[in-house]
Subunit: 575 residues, 2 copies
């Protein structure tokens, strides 16, 4: 069923209103890779691609890695996936899993099943990569399970190409006590733990020996981070308490309190302002205590301490449970690899616009663990000018640009964005803006383009970005031989010839923010930019999320989970 993702995508392309929308920003690989440089390597195994097949090793089973595997079709490659979890998880539904609106197993699909539906020469290893040796084209891996003797198997895997899609870790920003006392919400296991813990709080508060004051503490649920995951979890939790638990624990409803803490001035800041406003309004109506501008400085086993950013005042509040959902950190082995290749000062792996990791030959990276380092026009301005100035006259006429203008727009996405923002029809208009008919020298050329680079933006760490990158990269691999003969990318400005492929270009399709109570806020990017809030968006959200499931199995499961919830409510067994 490798065609599903593409089929679904084409539906969105044909009916852009049913746009491709993904809310949660996790593309992670699961579990921390505990790499220490001092571990000696004992594994004896190292197998290279056999015959003339090239071996592609993929690290991770998140959005990026899985989408890459699903879309890879070229029989010239042999694929080996290494990841600590043997399944792909549909992460946008994780907040629903935390309260049982959807079951954990309904949002996962084993990577082996996914690969079995392709015709790939495929292998999977349940292990964590702990070291990338790019000089010898090897990755070093460690089994996630201990063997009977208490040791974790170690082994090396050779590669011809390496695709890194290991996602990130939950970021505590070094806040003391977070690791020990809070729940993260990045993995399926996290969601299961949260679910159990919510019920545990209700059972603990039901004990006869507990005072009402303690009940208030135990039933105080704190969500840290006003991003899509945190907001959706708060909404889901509110629904769960109101719709299901209030009936089974009638005396406890009065003690329940949900707080949402956000360090910046607003929640859902990466969304359209109208969505932010709608979400904040709804939370106030629902009685969710929304505290913006409130930074968490410490979490103990009993209290969470916050600092009001504006005044610097600190406050300690007792809680029953804290869910921490504030951003993405880099895995240790990726940090280590970044030092090796001279990227020590970056936050995540930097790649070029073709997703190749800078400073390496055969390593690609995508999703949350990587970012595309866009080239500035200003850095290449001389080369561009020289390329356009064929007669080496030192000045350019409009006609001189005709041959390079498309290459410039393709190579530097900020140029297109600039033209759009300034409402200019084409590149020539931009240059003419200085003076009509004029010939440009290098200084004037620079002046015309001086503001362009200010529009460069990093792509957000979302599932949508990772999946588009992976689809793009798989497509490059699929057409590798073809494009080597007939390159289709833009001209190289600093060298001769053309780039093999067109650079990756992200197409933002929109976003959903489910707010609970059958209210969903949606922002659509195509064909027009508009925002919709309410029940109709909720149904659209259901239908799109159902259609985006990774397999028919998970699709049937997710839809029947929704049906069950409508009929029977959510289960409150403490398993």
């Amino acid at each position: 069923m490798s065609s599903f993702y593409r089929r679904a995508t084409s539906v969105f392309t044909k009916h852009p209103a049913l746009t491709k929308i993904l809310v949660v920003a996790t593309v992670s690989g699961g579990g921390a890779a505990a790499y220490s440089g001092s571990i000696p390597f004992n594994g004896a195994y190292a197998d290279a691609g056999c015959g003339d097949k090239k071996k592609v090793v993929v690290l991770g089973t998140g959005w990026g890695s899985t989408t890459f595997v699903k879309n890879l079709k070229n029989p010239k490659y042999e694929v080996e996936v290494v990841s600590p979890r043997n399944y792909f998880a549909f992460t946008p539904l994780l907040p629903s899993v935390t309260v049982g609106t959807v079951e954990a197993r309904s949002v996962v699909e084993p990577i082996r099943s996914i690969a079995a539906k392709t015709s790939l020469d495929f292998n999977y290893r349940e292990a964590e990569c702990f070291k990338i040796d790019h000089e010898n084209k090897k990755v070093y891996c460690k089994s996630t399970q201990e063997s009977k003797s208490g040791k974790k198997e170690e082994f090396a895997v050779d590669y011809d190409y390496l695709v890194v899609g290991v996602g990130g870790l939950s970021n505590t920003f070094g806040t003391p006590g977070v690791e020990e006392n809070t729940f993260f919400l990045k993995e399926v296991e996290d969601a299961q733990k949260i679910r159990r813990s919510v019920i545990d709080c209700f059972e603990r508060a039901s004990l006869p020996s507990v005072s009402d004051k303690e009940r208030e503490k135990i039933l105080h649920f704190v969500v840290v981070g006003g991003g899509p995951t945190g907001v959706e979890f708060a909404g889901e939790l509110h629904d769960f308490v109101l719709e299901d638990l209030a009936k089974l624990y009638p005396t406890l409803k009065q003690f329940v309190k949900i707080s949402l803490l956000e360090a910046t001035g607003h929640i859902l800041t990466m969304f359209d302002k109208r969505i932010t406003e709608a979400a904040e309004d709804k939370f106030v109506r629902d009685g969710i205590d929304l505290k913006t501008g409130s930074m968490v400085v410490k979490v103990t086993d009993k209290e969470i301490t916050t600092k009001v950013r504006a005044t610097g005042e600190t406050e300690s509040i007792p809680y029953g449970m804290v869910v921490w959902s504030t951003g993405i950190g880099t895995r240790p082995f990726i940090k280590d690899f970044m030092k090796q290749i001279g990227q020590a000062d970056r936050r995540v792996l930097g790649t070029d616009e073709w997703l190749r990791v800078e400073g390496t030959q055969s390593i690609y990276a995508l999703g949350d663990c990587a970012t595309i380092v866009q080239r500035k026009v200003m850095d290449d301005i001389g080369a561009i000018f020289d390329k356009a100035d064929k007669n080496k006259s030192g000045t350019l006429k409009v006609d001189d640009f005709k041959e390079v203008v498309n290459d410039i727009i393709e190579r530097y996405p900020q140029v297109e964005l600039y033209l759009k923002n300034k409402k200019l029809k084409n590149f020539v208009q931009l240059l003419k803006s200085s003076q009509p008919g004029e010939e440009l020298d290098i200084e004037k050329f620079k002046a015309a383009l001086s503001e362009v680079d200010s529009l460069m933006k990093n792509l957000p760490a979302t599932a949508q970005v990772a999946a588009q990158e992976a689809e793009y990269l798989a497509n490059c691999f699929n057409r590798m031989e073809q494009c080597e003969k007939n390159p289709e990318g833009p001209q190289r400005f600093r060298e001769l010839g053309q780039h093999k492929f067109k650079p990756f270009r992200y197409k933002h399709l929109g976003q959903f923010a489910p707010l609970g109570g059958e209210q969903t806020a949606a922002q659509f990017a195509l064909p027009w930019d508009f925002v919709s809030i309410g029940r109709s968006s909720q149904w659209l959200w259901y239908s799109i999320y159902a259609s985006k499931q990774v397999s028919w199995r998970t699709r049937v499961l997710v839809v029947s989970d929704w049906g069950r919830r409508f009929i029977f409510g959510r289960d409150s067994s403490s398993i």
Copy 2:
């Protein structure tokens, strides 16, 4: 929906061929009650039944306790359930949960939801009882969860009546290494752990650094105990490997081995011999290595050591995973209570035929933690004779029996069984067998009944027994006032008057033994005793197990799980 169980039961009564059949023998309460006599009691709470309501405290949420709560209707009672798990689990499907034929959540229902469907004045506490104080009518309980300060809440609960249905623990028979190295299969959590562990074994065996010899070890699954749970698990595992895992791990199939170890000479010894034979034949055909007469003497982290009972030879076999399913042990706080009431020499709590714990006034016990201590006819023979011999002549005529014969049969179930076995129509025939027309003195009366007591049997530790006991007991509670005025039990032979209620009488309805591969062996007790093996029994098993589910929610879930498995196979994600 308190009527469901009764409705289902009446279906079986009206159509006895669709008989009430329960295979697995667990009625447990979950988790070991770690009671230590030295724990000081700090709880301050103790609430008694308010008004003129009598307070019934129920320990446990297994088959016995839950069925009792569902069937209790008398508004004169206030009910408080104390159990470490807040849900009832349909234990006969646990072996199916181990491999994902059915999902864990599909076989559980929160006790609060069950009680909400009755009109009971109901409370539930998630806690373990650690001490019963029958003199002061109190139970001492400890929360299963630690509070933030790392302490478990303790509290006391007063009762007017106490119903003990806490089930048992897995019994290791003191075999060294079992606790540390094997998996039990009594609780839902156990089944979930086993499921994860099976997949873990396959993933570990897929690592490139593992040798084929190690693969054989890792994929050697050992089941200890040839009872219904062990046999069904072995069958389910065999199906899972063959139907699902063989496709996803094609290179590993050849290394898989399943062994079933049973200490006695046959598996399923509590079943009809024809079932035992069918099961053993099927296992041999399937390639499951069945070792009967093989006692486990030690389990280390790498090997399981067995002793052949016949020869005394020991053998150590490496394994990947061991599931231990061999019998029921008694919880420590029950053992402690038994010492208090002079039952120290028993294995489980002894009750009379009205399920009241011997040596106590207001405590009842049912399910796996209890056994009915039947009175011997021989112990009461003098009293019976005296009661019948109204004119105190020292001899009895046939007519003298007419008034006591029904009471005898009701009071001593072994008498009815004896008559049936000997194909005698009635009690008088039994006495006449000595010589026609004769008058009996006490010695001849004794001689006539001398063999009767040899037919006394302990009831098996099955869900079927626990559920019938609970229904009986709830019915007694429901008609308490009524029967106090108009007692309906048999005459008391040693005292004046009548017993308030008829004694409990178990009605064996049959048993199922699912063997995997859509093969189920079934033994039907009513209306005729017959055995059926094959696909038709499988469908009957499906339909009966579906109908026996505790709520409509779980019924829909279980049936849809079966549907999913037919269509999509079982999931192999390691969650």
